[in-house]
């Protein structure tokens, strides 16, 4: 589990929220649903307003066959502009983790499996290079993938299992440090221990033994894991479980010139400034169940602040009519204008991302569960959402798991929907019972504008409930390290989490497994309960992720209700807008961004 990376993946989203610092915007989140009017109507994110999320499934062989279903009205040709705020940090699929580059890589990089998103936002994990989402044996410890016919790199050479093996083995090399490491760790050992299995990657002619990673012929890839991993089809959809042609592998330099296996290839890349992708003529749509190749070109440019991209999309003139953004959100100060301009209705969405913000409780310092319950009851989730940018930036959270997760249920043990501003009376009652009225709470937060505003509403709400709050501002550059120290001197602090795939095995264990308490780890509450740990082990061993999904939700709710390790505050949302001359832009529920793979110029 490379959990620390999840924080980083969230960074783009956090910055969006930070920009919302001065947000005027929007009506209150009074109804718990965010209350953003049109923003709400637009929200048909996975699981939202449903009793159970049924939006994720493992696709069949037929689902995995190409071509991808035609997008209605789609035309070929034209250039799609992409306006991004932050420059891409990587193009090498082995190094990719952030949501913006995850989205971008879909255009030039194929993986063993991938996510097929339909018009209703339902997601199927399907075979991408592989003929299906993989076949498990040996109780889930062995996974076999068979490659499709007709797969080619951008030079027309065939993609074989050896190229996939090379792509995976190069993750062991010392320079590959930024990408997710699920598969290498499952194959060769946790943490960084896996690197010992192939210290130089495949570059000195050595390979992993067939007992670990086997490619008996050009079409077959077999993983032999040490333990069962039911969510392997999700892990193989990460961008670095795909083919890299050995002769084209330029190691570190590959980051600026990856060799394409997808519908587009890199034509020009000016690091930090722009990227142009053009058609890869050797990509065969019949092999690809997910991607299209409608536009001739994608011209991606960096350095567009949210206000700039929003202004351009709103003005909708010239080349901006054909422009979109993968991850730039609508600038908070322009939210009302966008919602009020009727011609934007068909070219925007507000969707829930798989990212959740929490206030974690330090259980080493807050030993009395009644105090923690009082804190949870008093927390003004609705007001916090407002400070973060309002309804289009976040949806009030009622439990630990995001609606974007498979198996999500809208449970609400602390009545947050009913009392978005908190329930100070009930909280005070609990404090009185515990004899802790006036208890001092050390509340740590990063010294950013938005967190300072959040601190004001949190302090007021907690003091109304009978706490005495001592605010501790921590430098924003160091606060993540500060709160991840086991011996930190804080009682409560804001934390956040984003799942790598919509299965809660990527959420509950890292956040709540007592065996994972360590400096820098993500069990921020230091919840250490052997019964919870045992339950985590039991659910992790369930071979079917669909069966495990509701169990994770039950466990998460048990932790929230009985242990109260922290209080969920809001689910992040992505508010996207694009030019009027583009069609086929849709939300990618797993990456939390605007998906360009079906985009076309009208």
């Amino acid at each position: 589990m490379t959990s620390a990376t999840m924080f980083l993946r969230r960074r783009a989203r956090l910055s969006a929220a930070a920009l919302a610092a001065g947000a005027l915007v929007l009506s209150a989140c009074s109804s718990g649903g965010g209350g953003g009017g049109d923003g709400d109507k637009q929200s048909q994110g996975p699981g939202e307003d449903k009793t159970t999320s049924a939006n994720y499934s493992i696709g069949t062989k037929a689902d995995s066959a190409g071509p991808a279903p035609e997008v209605s009205g789609a035309k070929k040709g034209g250039t799609v502009g992409v306006l991004q705020r932050d420059a891409f940090n990587h193009l090498d699929p082995g190094q990719i983790y952030y949501s913006d580059v995850l989205t971008n890589q879909m255009l030039y990089n194929r993986t063993l499996t991938s996510y097929k998103v339909d018009d209703k936002g339902r997601v199927k994990v399907v075979g991408d290079l592989a003929t299906d989402a993989g076949t498990a044996s040996d109780g889930g410890k062995t996974w076999k993938f068979t490659l499709k016919d007709g797969l080619k790199f951008e030079d027309g050479s065939p993609i074989t299992s050896k190229d996939v093996r090379w792509g995976i083995e190069r993750l062991y090399a010392p320079f590959e440090t930024d990408g997710p490491l699920y598969i290498p760790q499952w194959l060769s050992g946790d943490g960084n221990a896996f690197r010992k299995a192939l210290p130089e990657g495949p570059y000195d002619g050595k390979h992993l033994p067939a007992s670990v990673l086997d490619t008996p012929d050009d079409k077959t890839v077999i993983f032999h894991f040490a333990k069962p991993h039911a969510d392997t089809p999700f892990a193989t959809a990460m961008p670095n479980i795909g083919p890299v042609k050995a002769e084209k592998d330029t190691k570190q330099k590959y980051d600026n010139a990856p060799f394409s296996s997808g519908p587009y290839k890199v034509a020009d890349y000016k690091v930090g400034k722009s990227l142009t992708l053009v058609r890869n003529e050797h990509w065969d749509p019949k092999t690809d169940p997910v991607r299209h190749q409608y536009p001739d070109k994608f011209e991606i440019s960096f350095g567009h602040q949210f206000a700039d991209s929003t202004r351009r999309f709103l003005a909708d003139q010239g080349a901006d009519k054909n422009a979109m953004s993968f991850s730039n959100a609508v600038a908070p100060e322009m939210t009302e204008k966008v919602l009020g301009q009727s011609d934007t209705k068909a070219r925007r969405f507000v969707e829930i991302q798989p990212y959740v913000d929490y206030i974690s409780f330090n259980m080493d310092r807050l030993g009395d569960v009644r105090v923690r319950k009082a804190l949870a009851l008093a927390m003004p989730n609705g007001q916090i959402v407002q400070q973060m940018g309002g309804a289009t930036a976040g949806l009030l959270a009622t439990n630990y798991l995001s609606p974007a997760m498979d198996g999500y249920r809208p449970t609400d043990p602390f009545g947050k929907k009913k009392s978005p501003a908190g329930d100070p009376e009930k909280a005070k009652q609990l404090l009185t019972e515990a004899g802790k009225v006036g208890q001092e709470i050390v509340y740590a937060y990063a010294n950013t504008d938005v967190q300072q505003k959040v601190a004001v509403v949190v302090t007021q709400a907690l003091e109304r409930a009978g706490f005495k709050v001592q605010k501790k501002e921590v430098d924003s550059n160091t606060w993540r390290t500060a709160i991840a120290e086991v011996k930190n001197q804080f009682d409560i602090y804001r934390t956040s989490w984003g799942a790598d795939w919509p299965v809660s095995s990527t959420v509950v264990p890292p956040l709540f497994d007592g065996r994972q308490i360590a400096d820098g780890a993500q069990n921020y509450s230091h919840l250490n309960n052997s019964k919870i740990d045992a339950e985590i082990d039991r659910i992790s061993a369930i071979p079917d992720v669909k069966q495990a999904a509701p169990e994770w939700q039950k466990l998460a709710d048990r932790i929230l209700t009985d242990e109260v390790a922290g209080v969920p505050v809001f689910y992040n949302r992505q508010f996207s807008l694009w030019g009027s001359n583009l069609g086929g832009v849709k939300y990618h529920p797993v990456y939390g961004t605007a998906d360009p793979t079906g985009a076309f110029v009208k």
């Binding site: 980083l8 190094q95 960084n192 400034k273 350095g303």
Partner: protein, 325 residues
Amino acid sequence: MLRFLLRRSLGAIVIVLLISAITFFLFFALPSEPALMSCGKNCTPDAIAVINKNLGLDQPVPVQYWHYMSGIVTGRDFTVGHCPAPCFGYSFSNQQPVWGTIVDRFPTTLSITLGGAAVFLTVGVGIGMLAAAFRGTWIDKFFSSLSLIGNALQIYFVGVIALAVFVSGLHWMDNPAYHPITENPVKWFTGMLIPWLVLSIIFIANYSRMTRSQMIEQLAEDHVRTARAKGLSRRTVFFRYAWRGAMAPIVTIFGIDLGSLFGGAIITEFTFSLHGLGRLAVSSVSETDLPTLMAVMLVGCTAIVVANIVVDAAYAFIDPRVRLA
């Protein structure tokens, strides 16, 4: 003249070297771990050691400084290959040769600077002269007030309004963008127009006020009065006598402004989503990217020093009383 240039150039080299050394040593005096930038998230102590070795960060700081500076003249060899002169090293954050990035970004900065300077100098000085010529009249008052307003405005404010009105609202202009002048001069011009105008608004105010006061001062000088008494035409007196005298301090300030702008018009670049040296400077600081930071700083510093030498040389032509020897 030659001796002057030689002397000033040597002085300039010393200044640039001094500033480069201060920047370099300050970087290492502050708590920073540049290897972390290249190391990524799943970093190990071993990986950091390898990166430190590859980047030469395991050597004493003075040695690193010497390698960096000598590499600019002679080129350097890195584990990833030879970096030909002028070698400013490889970026810590994106592993690109820094010189390539500078060469890519400099034309944008050059375009912003030269175009903006042309506008603010001609318009600013013109307005100042007009105000001086019609001192005390409504023309003077009007332009003086206008320059006061201009002085109070900021690029990020005027820039956003200009974009909203002229690009998004009236569609009179294109979104600011840099297109190489060699590829499409018209697009280059239209793409740069708004940044030039907005940058100019801020500078015009200074130049018009400075020109006005200098002109008024010059017009009251004895030699100007003598020229008038000799019966020279008003135009001759104004342009040949007063204006020439007034220009000297303005040229000095212009030299400094121009030099600073070559270092990167940071706010202008951010406001208009342009990629020049200013944005590069900001990102290199935030990413603790020493090679890029040093390169931007050296380019900016050299530009300022060279601009000053040019200004000093220009003095001799403007004011015959100044002798360069």
